[in-house]
Symmetry: C2
Subunit: 330 residues, 2 copies
């Protein structure tokens, strides 16, 4: 294992120093490990807080900024943030209109965000939570009760963030966040495992001619081990799995997401297949994202996330956003 | 070797289909393999054309758009585009003010862009060329006479593109492009080789505890093979090499670029080191980019590119840009 790190122990702190140096629009609380918008909370605006294990960058800290998150709480690599982090973030971003927690459905995250919500309530901060569980690959797994939360997290953060910017009340922001999750499904495929710096070994063994279908973003097992095949066929497995769970038609937002170590030229080739296959099923790919957005360290592979758009969701997706990793229209 | 492709032969064409489907602001000429701005040439504006082998995405096609390139000509993986492609691109984007070729210093690219410039002249298109040769690692190599062109290509394309948008004449746009190149230096480090799909084998062998210092973006050899070490020490090798060639002081623009397969969390940690070391030498990191911008397929590693800013260059760097891979201020 070769990693571009000083040590496994210092990696998250070192990366936060880099994030702070690179992005003047962010304020990094190094002690509490929270990434804020530098501008601070806006009175009357719902504050959006997300977080989770590190190793999925740019998720979540790369999505802090105008039109998206107010704060992100990174844990250690693939490890939930602690409740104190989340409480601190929530009290700091509360502009009087309450706080929305956006939580990926992993047991550790669910428990720690729930405890944080209770502690925040004691300090007078109103918290609503939305759970993201878009991954159709497996139901119940080593990390999760129910479905895992993966690519749709970005959609929820972007669209709820846009609505919050308009001054909408907490209940409305929570409603649209839940609606995005309900309208979204994901499926991932690994061509290689990822290696967590602290363990130094691949998260699973995969043969030279094998792939993992339905892999999770921590290298959790998927549905099945299968033979390597063409991009067209691998994408078809993902698109079929998504559409079997949620029939698609009308306008859709599609993310062809890289797991971290797959070249962009390959991701665009795979997106061409995904778009063609979805249109062959009668959907219209109205909006899209291609690139590394919800990653799994150095894993090779991809995931497909599809969201069935409505007029409201399309308008909120198109609204201006200004974060390190997602920026348009402003 | 596992690649997310249909075939090595179709990869570039498949990726162009994906690029076209993902970005309505681009127009892809699939037959001639050229990526244009959908809006077409603007009368009186200098047209910027770049290109080179594929495998370095988002360079160059990801930098086509307002404030940057007018057209990009991708060759096969790590293979120069042919002169006909470049001629076709140049005649199509010429708005009457001439065309600037931005060429990375590799023998194939230099010869083919030169021939294209001669052919375009016969068709009445005025062409100026700027050669990018920022890589301080080696002088003369298997692919190049003189220094290789790497990360500074992005700086040249962005800053010359911003000046062209103001309606500046060709000579002025060429002058600023050359100035950016002269003020920029790069150095790369590989933790792993890359694998070209058509060959299926790593471009070089690297031991479990070895790195290649001064590597090129096609996996060309660097200065030396050395023992693996910490991010701080690897970054120091790169920063020392850059500063030995070009003393830095005052405001600098720094790119901490990933080679394609290094996780973003590690790139941010490395950027923290680079920024600290450059400031320790008396420079001020006034602007920065952290991420995968000038890649080498699935290579693990990074490069550091430093540009000594002037007031003019800073203003042009900050000017609005709207491309798939670089977007701000508009």
């Amino acid at each position: 294992m070769k990693k571009l790190i000083n040590s496994a122990e210092s990696l998250v702190a070192d990366a936060l120093r880099g994030l702070s140096a690179a992005h003047p629009g962010l304020r990094v609380d190094a002690e509490n490990r929270i990434v804020f918008r530098a501008a601070g909370p806006r009175p009357g605006k719902v504050g959006l807080v997300s977080g989770g294990g590190s190793g999925h960058e740019p998720l979540h800290a790369g999505f802090v900024g105008y039109g998206m998150l107010d704060a992100a709480c990174p844990g250690e690599i693939f490890t939930s943030p602690v409740p104190d982090q989340v409480v601190e973030a929530g009290t700091a971003v509360d502009g009087g209109a309450g706080v929305l927690h956006i939580v990926k459905n992993y047991t550790g995250d669910v428990l720690n965000f729930r405890m944080a919500a209770e502690l925040a309530a004691e300090e007078g901060v109103t918290v609503e939570s939305v759970l993201v569980d878009d991954d159709v690959a497996v139901r119940d797994s080593v990390h999760t009760a129910g479905r895992r939360g993966t690519g749709a997290t970005l959609f929820v953060e972007k669209i709820a963030g846009a609505l919050a910017e308009t001054g909408a009340p907490l209940a409305e922001v929570a409603r649209v966040a839940r609606e995005v999750n309900e309208r979204s499904r994901s499926f991932g495929v690994a061509l290689s495992a990822c290696t967590v710096p602290a363990t130094g070994a691949p998260s699973f063994d995969l043969g030279e001619a094998e792939v993992e279908l339905g892999v999770g973003i921590h290298g959790e097992p998927g549905r099945t081990r299968a033979a390597m095949r063409s991009a067209r066929e691998l994408v078809a497995v993902a698109v079929d799995a998504v559409c079997a769970d949620m029939p698609v038609s009308g306008d859709v937002l599609v993310m062809l997401n890289g797991m971290g170590a797959t070249p962009l030229v390959e991701l665009y080739a795979a997106f061409a297949e995904a778009a063609g296959q979805l249109e062959g099923r009668g959907a219209r790919v109205a909006r899209s994202l291609v690139g590394n957005y919800v990653t799994s360290l150095d894993m090779q592979g991809f995931s497909v996330t599809v969201c069935r758009l409505s007029e409201e969701l399309t308008r909120l997706w198109d609204a201006p956003v200004e974060t390190p990793a997602l920026r348009w229209g402003r």
